[in-house]
Structures are given as structure tokens and as C-alpha cells.
């Protein structure tokens, strides 16, 4: 039986951000932008969506008088990601 894939995660950029944050402790906005090859505006919108869903934590601070945004995966984000991968596997198994 198919379970619907989490619409928050089933989007290219949001999934890339969550996958990236899962394998690190925390990452700066600029690092995520560089690795996902996205634009600052688009990334900012998607990060906000993930934050609103409670999947990531966003910390805004100043470093050497410049604003700095640090992102970190939240426990809810880990759970959602695990469920997403599980559902993904069921899709792929049935397809085979």
C-alpha cells in the first residue's frame, strides 16, 4: 500500500537541504547555498518552509558585523526524513 510522500520533503531543494543537514552538526546558509547550487532567494524561502514545519532549526546571529544564518536539523526533521525514506523504499520495491 502506497503512503503519500511528505509534501514538505518531496521537493528537490528542500530534500537536498534536509539531506545535507542530516550528515553535519550545523551548516551556514552560504555553505548550503554553495552545495545545493541554489539562489539565495529560493533557498531562503525553502528554509523558512522547513523551519515552519519544525524540520530544521534556524539561528540568526552576527559574525564580524555581518549577519550569519546557521541551520541545524531538528528531531522532528530526522523523524520525517526517516519516514520519507521508508515510503520511498516501498515505492521502489513495488516498482521492481
Amino acid at each position: 500500500m502506497f503512503k503519500e510522500l511528505d509534501p514538505i520533503l518531496h521537493s528537490q531543494l528542500r530534500l537536498a537541504v534536509v539531506s545535507l543537514l542530516l550528515s553535519v552538526k550545523e551548516a551556514e546558509f552560504t555553505f548550503i547555498r554553495e552545495k545545493t547550487n541554489s539562489t539565495a532567494g529560493n533557498l531562503s524561502v525553502q528554509i523558512n518552509k522547513l523551519k515552519e514545519a519544525g524540520y530544521i532549526e534556524v539561528l540568526k546571529q552576527f559574525k564580524d558585523n555581518y549577519p550569519q544564518t546557521i541551520c541545524k536539523i531538528a528531531p522532528q526533521g530526522i523523524k520525517a526524513f526517516e519516514a520519507y525514506v521508508k515510503n520511498l523504499q516501498s515505492y521502489l520495491t513495488i516498482k521492481k
Binding site: 518531496h10 528537490q12 545535507l20 550528515s23 553535519v24 552538526k25 555553505f31 552545495k35 524561502v45
Partner: protein
């Protein structure tokens, strides 16, 4: 990368997850500077002590180790200078920092112990600690020269007990060469090459 919500298949999802995880594997911060600082610092101390002891017969040859406080100051300076510059914090970089902090305190504790018991066989214990640190660090970042350097330290630590004090200084120098200096330079070259590739 655009935020494609349609026509995004499960296969593409899986591919994307894998590629993002792979991307972070190469994001470990370049800490080769610390291996080079301590490696060259201690090698210089070994060379100076050997020269003072074996060639000049100077009884104050232990003064060569006064370089250590200088290295500690340089280390603190570098840590503060580089603090907050990393765009990403990984669990590996945290684990490495804890490992070397623990080893640093162990070096300090051993200095107090040897100051009381005598420095005759101290080099073997220091070599074992160098080896342990580089071996574990090498395994963390899957960097073979560090792992090999760490392993070589063990027979060198044992050999140091069977030779005279002058040769022991040379063995200490050799251990630092194989566990810090050579892997440190290779690590630096690897990061430089990676940066070039990324550009």
C-alpha cells in the same frame, strides 16, 4: 538547483539524497596546519637537543623543549584566528577536537609525572600518544598516511626503550616525521587539490 515539486520521481529523490550526503564527505575542515605546527616544532626541538647533547655535550640540552610553550601560544592563536571561519560543523570535526584536547591534557599530565620520575624513557610514552592521535584522526577522515603514521609509531615507541638516550631523541624525531609532518603535508596537498577541483 530549482525547487521542482512536479516530475520528481522516487528514484530522483534517492539519487539526490545520496549525492547530498556524498557532498558533505568532502567538507571536513582542513586542520593540517596543526599537524605541521607541532610536527615541525617538535622536530626542531629534537634536532636542537640532539645537537646540544650528542655533539656539544651540553648538560642543559633539555632547554630545547622550551619551544613547547611557544607552540602552545601559536596553537591558541591559530584556534582563535580560525574560530567561526568554518561554514560547516561536522560530528567528525567535533570528535577530532575532543580527541586532541584530551591528548593535549595527557601530554601536560605526563610532563608533571616525568618531571618527578625522570625523563629517561619519556619519549616512548609521547610517541605512543602521537601515534594514537594520528591513527584515530586518520580513521575519522579516512586518510591513509595518518593511519600508517600512527601505526609506525608503535614499533618506534618500543624500539626507543632499547637504545641509548641520544638515539631515543632521533627516534622521537623520526616518529614525528612519519606521524605528523609527512601526513600533514599530504593532507594539506589533498585539500589544496580539492579546492582547485571545486573551483
Amino acid at each position: 538547483m530549482k525547487n521542482q515539486e512536479n516530475e520528481f520521481s522516487p528514484e530522483q529523490s534517492l539519487k539526490l539524497i545520496t549525492s547530498m550526503i556524498e557532498t558533505t564527505k568532502n567538507s571536513i575542515c582542513d586542520n593540517s596546519i596543526y599537524f605541521l605546527l607541532w610536527g615541525w616544532g617538535i622536530l626542531i626541538a629534537c634536532a636542537v637537543q640532539y645537537y646540544m647533547k650528542a655533539i656539544l655535550n651540553n648538560p642543559n640540552n633539555g632547554m630545547a623543549w622550551l619551544i613547547i610553550p611557544v607552540l602552545v601560544v601559536l596553537q591558541i592563536f591559530l584556534v582563535f584566528k580560525r574560530r567561526g571561519k568554518a561554514k560547516v560543523k561536522t560530528f567528525i570535526s567535533d570528535a577530532s577536537a575532543y580527541l586532541w584536547t584530551a591528548i593535549g591534557f595527557a601530554y601536560l599530565a605526563m610532563a608533571f609525572i616525568f618531571a618527578k620520575t625522570g625523563w629517561e624513557y619519556c619519549s616512548s610514552f609521547y610517541i605512543i600518544l602521537y601515534g594514537m592521535g594520528t591513527f584515530v584522526s586518520g580513521q575519522f577522515i579516512k586518510f591513509r598516511p595518518l593511519i600508517i603514521g600512527g601505526i609506525i609509531c608503535l614499533p618506534l615507541a618500543i624500539a626507543a626503550v632499547y637504545v641509548d638516550f641520544d638515539s631515543r631523541i632521533l627516534i622521537l624525531g623520526l616518529s614525528i616525521l612519519v606521524s605528523y609532518i609527512i601526513p600533514g603535508h599530504l593532507l594539506r596537498a589533498k585539500y589544496k587539490k580539492q579546492n582547485l577541483v571545486n573551483v
